[in-house]
């Protein structure tokens, strides 16, 4: 039985064509593919073998509490969960009110809390911690579902956000003699301290940065020179020198009776540092405002302050949100430098754990874990920032 079978047409789609086009399009390309593939396979095999058989991950899981909150007293940890709950609720409401842009940020927050919950599962911290974080992660979406149905006035939400930082701070630090016993910032540590340093650093730096940016564009020479001088001075020196100054020299410049603890001094240093970078971001936003806007404001009879407050800044600040998220990410990574002045942030805790006798020599495990935490946080945030940029329509209008 013979049947005329047609030869199939040349494969132009499908995996083989894809391989040919993307990996083996010529002799050189094929060689590159094979060499890189072999090297990559070897490296991944080495890392995989080490991570699965040799690495002592118990060093990390046994000390997970230290990595997360430092020496924050164990019976007070619920205060951290409550702060996270405040944040989760606000993020959920914002996702309902502001739409797409806020939703990506809320989703990121939820995902990160979920991951922390899963991490706690393999540590001796206990099931309560796991439940706390999973409940927080879920709270974001529950509140979001509610917020879509009831209308929350935007102004109320804004005030709530503004109040959240001082409230969280008070909740975490507490007062002596109240149901919230005082927890000195000196015992705050780990991821908690890392995140707080970055959050405080960027939020306190924001007003200062806006003032500096306006000052740099001012028509008054004295104001302009002072602002420019500050910005360029700070941007020209490394963060380490500023932290060193905040740690050792700032106390000399303040009256003797002002006793700032180390964490507060580091926060001060980071704020002064990031203000200069916020200022440059805001300046970029200010420059993007068409002159027509300012001329129109003048034509309407608005004064200089009114023009800035009601016309220029609202537009400029909106445009610089993504840039400031980027700044926040790099600030989060830069806060590791407080390890050098002896603070116990995530990296500092890692060094402290390495000094314990039973984790001797576990350098790679601990540093790889810390790098992994930073990678997850900043990768998630940079993806969120990228979506935020598109949702805000920066550069497209």
């Amino acid at each position: 039985m013979t049947s005329e079978t047609l030869r199939p047409p040349n494969v132009s789609v499908g995996p083989i064509a894809w391989l040919r086009a993307n990996l083996f399009s010529g002799p050189i390309n094929s060689l590159v593919t094979i060499l890189i593939g072999a090297a990559l396979g070897w490296i991944l095999l080495q890392i995989g073998t080490w991570a699965l058989t040799e690495a002592r991950w118990s060093v990390v899981s046994n000390n997970l509490r230290l990595f997360l909150v430092g020496q924050y007293p164990g019976d007070q940890v619920w205060r951290i969960w409550l702060s996270m709950a405040i944040l989760s609720v606000l993020a959920g409401v914002s996702a309902g009110v502001y739409g797409q842009a806020a939703r990506t940020m809320a989703a990121t927050l939820s995902a990160i809390q979920l991951m922390i919950g899963v991490l706690i599962l393999v540590s001796p911290i206990g099931i309560v911690g796991v439940l706390a974080y999973i409940a927080n992660a879920a709270a974001v979406w529950v509140v979001f579902a509610l917020a879509v149905r009831i209308t929350v006035p935007r102004r109320v939400l804004l005030y709530a956000w503004m109040a959240s930082l001082p409230i969280t701070f008070l909740l975490l630090s507490g007062f002596e003699g109240t149901p919230l016993p005082s927890v000195s910032t000196n015992v705050w540590g780990g991821l908690l301290l890392t995140v707080l340093l970055a959050v405080v650093g960027i939020i306190l730096a924001f007003p200062l940065g806006v003032v500096l940016a306006l000052g740099r564009r001012s028509e008054l020479p004295v104001v302009r020179i002072l602002s420019t001088g500050y910005i360029e001075l700070i941007r020209g020196v490394p963060l380490v020198t500023i932290l060193f100054m905040a740690d050792i020299i700032l106390p000399l410049f303040l009256p003797g009776e002002w006793r700032l603890d180390r964490v507060a001094r580091a926060m001060g240093g980071i704020t002064l540092f990031s203000a200069a970078y916020v200022a440059e971001n805001v300046r970029g936003g200010l420059q993007a405002i068409p002159t027509g806007q300012i001329e129109a404001a003048n034509a309407l009879g608005l004064g200089g302050v009114q023009t800035n407050l009601f016309i220029v800044l609202p537009q400029a600040l909106r445009a610089v949100i993504p840039a400031n998220v980027g700044l926040f990410i790099s600030l989060l990574k830069d806060t590791t430098l407080v390890t050098i002045i002896g603070l116990l942030d995530l990296l500092g805790i890692g060094r402290a754990v390495l000094a314990q006798s039973d984790s001797f020599g576990a350098n790679l495990e601990i540093y790889a874990f810390i790098a992994g935490v930073f990678f997850v946080l900043s990768y998630a945030m940079s993806q969120a920032s990228y979506r935020l940029e598109r949702a805000l329509g920066v550069g497209t209008r």
Binding site: I36, R235, F244, L364, Y367, S382
Partner: protein, 395 residues
Amino acid sequence: MTPVPSTKKAGAVPLWRDVRALRIFGQIAVVVVVGLIVAWLVNNLTSALSQRGLGFGFGFLGRTAGFEISETPIPYTATDTYGHAFIVGLLNTLFVSFIGIILSTILGVVVGIARLSNNWLLKQVASGYVEIIRNTPLLVQLFILYFAVFLQLPAIIDSLAIGDSVFLNQRGVFLPGPQLTSTFGILLGFLVAGVVLVIVAGRVASRLEDAGKPSHRLRTLGVIGLVLLGVVGWFVAGGQAVTFDLPVIDRFNFAGGLALSPEFSSLLVGLVLYTAAFIGEVVRGGIQAIRRGQLEAARALGLSEGQTLQLVIFPQALRIIVPPLTSQYLNLAKNSSLAIAIGYPDLFKVGQTMANQTGQPVPVIILIMSTYLAISLVTSLFMNIYNRRVQVLER
């Protein structure tokens, strides 16, 4: 802020509504407020210093330092002055920054091009590298390199060897060290002549092209001339102008060659890997910003891939690349201050030791900060000059 055109006669506007007067008053007010704050700070400082019985001044720079520095590019001993120690630290910073800038530029360009490669695997590897490096802190990377890589290398006896000239062990990296011999001057003379030849050929070629005449590949001929002169010079100098001093294993350590300490190696490798990821993104952004039409036009003219890259894409991309590249160089120089975390005696580490020993942190930090500022300013000055050269190409 904007001047209000005054239609009334001068003097008709009361002083408190006159924009010009308000401006002057405003500036005076700012100066007074800033001045008061500074005066308050300085007042606090002087009282704090007198309480602790500390003086203020740079006199300590002339006193004996009394501490050792592990790596000294210029001769230094503990009996030298603080000023001398500071210079050693500065040279160490400049040394690691300079080498770091060169190496990270090379690696960065490779990474940037690899991210645009049409080889899928290469592209993925390059972007994986960039994402991992950019999303983790440099300090953690340095700790990994120092504590988990360079300090975990085998002992001297079991050194990892690449051929018989490069050795890696706990004490650092040992490379063949170039040694200039007495006949090096001859080779140098030939090389200078070659460079002059290239410059002259380039000038003449440009002038011919400007006059609309063919340049007869004068530039290529100039480069060939340079290579020939170099080869001739090498043999005239007896083939011994530069010798390589190989590291040789001694009883306890390596002798000879170029020895790089684990601290220096970790810092350099860390800075290069970190900065190259950022430079790679800058390069990729610059190349992608070139409009597609340029590429298509180059193809339509029959230029090869290499020619397209060299003659069409790079000259245009360079204009976009140079300004952000400058800030990456500045970042590298500033990031070199993280040396303190792994114990490389750079400017900041030496400065901190000085501050601790002299009990004079304020003058020392002023010295450190102004030195970093000066490094930043000089680097941006050079990059701005280069930037202007690149931008002039625009027609």
